[in-house]
């Protein structure tokens, strides 16, 4: 009724207001009363007469429409444990409506299925799930009433099970259905629209769904250490003066990468580092700290490999002498 009054007032506004075209993104608000009265003037019997027609009033029905989209930029990299999928629901109808949400973790083609823990709404509107702040919906999970054109960010909280393998994919399907009802476009729910209008299912069927995707990224690092010995006599005995060359191969496997991979190795008791023998992938590193990836002090070597992609092996070598 409020809206109807608004329009009636608008008609009595001066010219400038009438010329402006109202912006209706989702169409005229449900419940709006469209009134139409014609006026005729004519000459008869020596005077001009004016006559008004009856006023025809029609009430705009409520169109039930909704869209749902995943806000994730693509498959979310994940590992066993909790994960958050982000969606946006928009009431594309022309009246206030709430929507029931259902998250289905079992989607054909999944390599594994997650467990859906809950559905939450972005209470503080920052686009990020904030535990304890963003409201977790209780079943049947239903959004607050959204005005026409209003949107809301939805979080689906899932748990990725243990035992998943690297690169495994899993989809979660979120469905939204208008509380008033869904069905083929044109399905009418008499009297159930805003302001006593009928509710009519729009082209979306008054329901929508969207897929959020997860991909398991498990990256592992294996360190393989080996040693070769050369004694002062050209043999391979461990005697004072023998030089031991240690090789540490860092093998990174998996579809992702590891960050801040730092390799440190203390010298074995009874040995002394031979200065200037530290190498990375065959290239010499200085013993000083801060000038390159590696440094060697009195007790250990240290090489900072930084970010290493899966499928890469980096090799560090250094020599010690048996005391």
């Amino acid at each position: 009724m409020k809206n109807a009054q608004k329009y009636v007032v608008a008609l009595s506004l001066p010219l400038a207001a009438l010329v402006a075209t109202p912006a209706y993104a989702a169409g005229v608000d449900a419940g709006t009363l469209i009134e139409n009265t014609a006026q005729a003037t004519y000459d008869a019997g020596g005077g001009t007469e004016t006559v008004d027609s009856n006023t025809v009033i029609v009430k705009v029905d409520e169109l039930l429409d909704v869209t749902l989209t995943s806000l994730d930029p693509g498959a979310i990299n994940t590992a066993p444990g909790p994960e958050v999928l982000t969606f946006e629901i928009t009431n594309t109808g022309n009246g206030p409506e709430a929507f029931t949400l259902t998250a289905d973790p079992v989607v054909p083609g999944n390599d594994f299925d997650t467990t859906v823990d809950s559905i939450a709404i972005d209470t503080n509107g920052n686009g990020v799930y904030d535990p304890g702040v963003d409201q977790i919906l209780t079943g049947p999970e239903t959004t607050p009433v959204l005005d026409a054109d209003e949107n809301l960010t939805i979080f689906v909280l899932v748990t990725v099970p243990a035992g998943v393998a690297d690169s495994d994919l899993s989809d979660v399907e979120l469905t939204a259905e208008a509380v008033t009802g869904t069905g083929a476009p044109g399905t009418t729910f008499a009297g159930q629209g805003e302001n006593g209008s009928d509710a009519v299912v729009g082209l979306t069927g008054a329901d929508a769904n969207a897929i959020g995707s997860l991909q398991v990224v498990i990256t592992t690092v294996d360190l393989l250490k080996s040693a070769t010995i050369v004694d002062p006599f050209g043999g391979t005995s461990s005697v004072p003066g023998s030089v031991i060359t240690y090789t540490i191969a860092a093998e990174v496997t998996g579809s992702g990468s590891v960050d801040d991979l730092l390799i440190t190795d203390p010298y074995p008791a009874g040995t002394t580092y031979i200065p200037g023998t530290l190498t990375l992938d065959g290239g010499a590193l200085t013993d000083a700290a801060g000038d390159d990836a590696g440094d060697a002090d009195a007790t250990r070597i240290s090489v900072d490999l930084g970010t290493v992609a899966g499928g890469t092996t980096r090799s560090v070598t250094f020599d010690v002498e048996i005391d």
Binding site: Y7, A10, L11, P14, L15, L18, V19, T21, P22, Y24, A26, G27, V28, T32, I34, E35, N36, T37, A38, Q39, A40, T41, Y42, D43, A44, G45, G47, T48, E49, T50, V51, D52, S53, N54, T55, V56, V58, K59, V60, D61, L63, N94, G186, T188, S197, D198, V200, G202
Partner: protein, 159 residues
Amino acid sequence: MRKFFKILAISALFSMPLASPVAAQDGQVKITNSVKIEQVSQSDSGEPQVKLVDPDVFIPGGRLIFVTDYQNDGAEPATNFVVTNPLHSAVRLADDADPDLTVSADGGTVWGKLSELTVSSEDGSTVAASHDDVTHIRWTLAEVAPGASGRIKYPVIIR
């Protein structure tokens, strides 16, 4: 009884300021508005037939036909018969409306065919008026003879 009420209504009109000093004679010409939709069916010979029927759904994007029926019940001809119909802001003139309709895009000040009208855009420049801009529609008939009746109509789209 009916007549009595009509007289009352007319005397009320008289007492209103700005009322036309020339009294409207009692209902010589009547106009009746209705809202319809077009329903296309096939005739027996297979020709498409367009019927106007009462709509039961009013949704944004929906097409309605605004109809005005007129009838001269008097004994004298009504000349210079002009029917003016303001468009509610929630509807716009349909794109396939008769291009020869006389319309106004400024609340009823300037009249003409839509193709002849202009409106001010938001930046102040003058642009050609579109169906969206139409605020009023007007028909002029030179004469409605005694006993004559007719129907005028135009299509609108619910915004």
